[in-house]
Amino acid sequence: MGQGVAQAPDGVEQATDFAAIDCDVHPVFAQDWPDELAPYMTKEWQIRIGGAAARYGSSNAGRNLPGVRYQLPGNPFYPKGGGNLRLDLFGDDGQLPGSDPARAAKELLDAHKIDRAVLLPQTVLGVGVFPTPDVAVTITSAVNEWTADRWLSSDPRWRGTIAVAQQDPTAAVVEIEKWAENDRMAGVFISLGRTMLGDPHFYPIYEAAQHHELPIVVHPHGSEGIYASSPPTGGGLQSYHLDYRVSFQQPYQMAVANLISNGVLERFDKLMFAFTECGFGWLPDLMWRMDSFWKGSRSETPWVTQPPSEYIAQRMRFSTQPMIEPPVHSQLTAVLEMMRADKTLMFSSDFPHWDADDMDQTARLIPDSIKRQVMVENALGLFGSRIL
């Protein structure tokens, strides 16, 4: 048990000249989401979800009438002024940042010498909170087609993630099987709902992902703690963007602990997990506390045969953005050492969000002794040959 330490895949030497792998980039829809996804849905689903062409029948085409329109779960209460996109990247014609794959390749990949970037379409980050499973299944399926059609075809450096609807594990497995042979799809994206990741509900998804050597990727969606179907945040409701910003990582901290306690990493002894944009400064405390309590409560979870921090070091990965900014640089170095960043940390930019990290600055902040691991090798170990 517990031997599933990911190794860099065969052919890793091909990647030795990589400067960076960005594991968290957000393609943005150029239009309202039902319209953007309409080409990837049946007529029936276009009507049901409310795309413009099908909204009211041909007689109202082109008229901006109200009508049925699903809202995607997001962050309705605690927005940051100015939205979540970089204002400096808006086109003169109003084009949204990150909505044009060729332009994004220039602004992100070319400008910062990033060799591979893993895409997590921002519009569907919260689809796991959607209360209606068949809608979530349809949206994720359409988004995957959109990712392949619009982004993967535009530049060989983009890598997709297979978005699945956690509400319907059976359909999620079908979706994984549909895309698994596409080696440009580098992981399985699960949008977290109320069910914690350690729950047997997810095991069919994990089985399929492990079979195809795809890691599970999660990312906050902004609706944590907001809806009855959201993963709850600690303590209670947030008040402002300021306290909201430190609340949405909480369900993912719990997910780390929950995966370990439920023995998921023993049941699926090759499966790896990436926690993107979930922060990492909290990790040393969680590792130490879990190790400590594991010693005293081992009998209840005898399948947890290694210290929890070992499962984390071997099988879980965290992303750099948003980089913490302690007042003294040596404090960052200390945190990186404590969290075993040489194994657990991967570079990410969060492009094109306003709180994105600059790649060059991130690279400077990472000590030379672990820079290569953080910028390239840990992502290689996680995503395997699909990232090459």
Binding site: G263, K295, G296, P302, W303
Partner: protein
């Protein structure tokens, strides 16, 4: 083990090498008795006739570990399943729940070098003796 006769105990001005902790009949099978030996309290366990002596101080946080429950343990198992074993040979500390193998003194979780402090036990002429100055090879890591 080699043990000097009881009349050698407490001989001279140096700290005694052995402590006479009582008549062997005072430690019946299936019991734990706390005695004072030298400067420490020691729990004497009789596991089916085998006498085991451990210092009443948990190597983790100093709890009176001998006040903990003697029990078995859940052995490493597949997720969602349980396997019980080591019945009567495990002590669970009353404070943080660390489980120790009474016979080896080691933790069951196995990643900590600290162990229970054990004493060699000898029975001589119906009396139970604890060796207070332990041979070097049994000194804790």
């Amino acid at each position: 083990m080699a043990i000097r006769a009881a009349d050698g105990v407490n001989e001279g001005s140096e700290a005694p090498a052995f402590a006479d902790v009582g008549d062997v009949e005072a430690f019946p099978s299936g019991t734990m008795t706390i005695v004072t030996a030298g400067e420490h309290q020691v729990g004497i366990y009789n596991l089916d006739g085998e006498l085991i002596a451990i210092r009443n101080s948990c190597p983790h946080r100093g709890a009176p570990v001998c006040k903990g429950t003697v029990t078995g343990a859940m052995l490493p198992s597949a997720p969602g399943s349980y396997r019980w074993g080591m019945e009567g040979t495990v002590i669970r500390c009353p404070w943080h729940g660390w489980e120790f193998d009474l016979r080896s003194g080691s933790t069951l979780f196995g990643t900590d070098r600290r162990r229970l402090i054990r004493y060699e036990v000898a029975v001589h002429d119906g009396r139970v003796f604890l060796q207070l100055k332990r041979p070097r090879e049994s000194v804790e890591a």
